[in-house]
Symmetry: C2
């Protein structure tokens, strides 16, 4: 962003938009010009929305999901079964599951994965909080729904170890051929997992 | 954006991000969660950058390009040849030309195209200002660099008509096969134009 023709405030805006995931130099410039030329009222709203989101939204003290209350809507819902706890990596996973799964238990959001090499230890993903909830003895089943990546699997194994001393059933969501997927286009890793994990028909 | 699990401020942020060009529901949610979870300081900067860009940046009174001064850096540059004026649709076009063309004249930015059906008339794209500049008699060549789309061509024709009464040479940037392009993959419209507009080798 070194073109001397750009006014400084425009340079600043383009550089700030570039922090967004998936936004490079050209897209950021297109977005900035769109805001300035076509949608100044939308730009003001966006600026205000970022500010108030940063001010209002924080982590739920029980499940670490994003909320604007002290305890989020899911955790404070009395109709939910508090003996079930589903562990996910991100708030987006809670939203995805809540839209597609008939699940009436609670969630626990790690906000990432264990990654000792990057300095992300158990406390950073809230595993101390998770253990203290297991210690209360209310949770009967812990559903591990971290992503089937190297980090997600490692985190799942670690949580399984944490849960061992407590009388809790630990389950993992199924991995295999996605519904509607075709075997010939699937990666060999998924395919061999699906084959090994075959079940009685 | 009707999932009741979303806090209101997050809904607001996602809806505000969706006004950006090329950003749909899923991308907006990804951006919002990224800002909240991973980059709160970047989010604050973005909010401030939008605000100050909206406050500081406006149209140059001579060329309608975006600037934070009354007259932009290009128009106020005494080393530029003010007998040459290049008409473009958008600020992005000025930046693109300034990075690739050895051109030391001035620019005029329409900020769009003539589009009577959408209620965009000659004044809305600054053609009254353009005509008053032509009337001063300083400009000797008017280079029409609007896009070779239906609207861009129509706007170029209209400007050509405006320029007729004034003693000014009106030129159009060349259209044809892009450098490095291959004939067999080119659309027939460009190809037939390139053929008709062939020049002495």
């Amino acid at each position: 962003m070194n073109n001397p023709l750009y006014p400084k405030a425009l340079k600043n805006l383009v550089d700030s938009l570039r922090i967004l995931p998936g936004v490079g130099q050209k897209t950021a410039l297109r977005m900035a010009l769109y805001l300035l030329e076509r949608n100044p009222s939308g730009a003001q709203k966006l600026s205000a929305a970022i500010g108030s989101a940063m001010a209002d939204i924080h982590k739920c003290t029980q499940c670490r999901n994003l909320t604007d209350k002290e305890i989020c809507l899911v955790c404070s819902d009395p109709t939910r079964d508090e003996s079930l706890l589903c562990v996910v990596e991100n708030p987006a996973d809670v939203f995805a599951l809540s839209q597609s799964v008939e699940y009436k238990g609670l969630y626990f959001v790690l906000m990432g994965n264990l990654s000792p090499l990057d300095g992300v230890g158990p406390e950073d993903v809230g595993l101390d909080l998770l253990e203290s909830r297991l210690a209360k003895g209310i949770i009967k089943e812990l559903i591990l729904a971290t992503n089937p990546t190297v980090e997600g699997e490692a985190t799942a194994f670690y949580i399984d170890e944490i849960a061992k001393p407590y009388n809790v059933r630990v389950t993992r969501i199924a991995h295999g051929v996605p519904m509607g997927g075709e075997l010939e286009y699937l990666d060999s890793n998924t395919l061999s997992h699906a084959f090994r994990a075959r079940q009685q028909f």
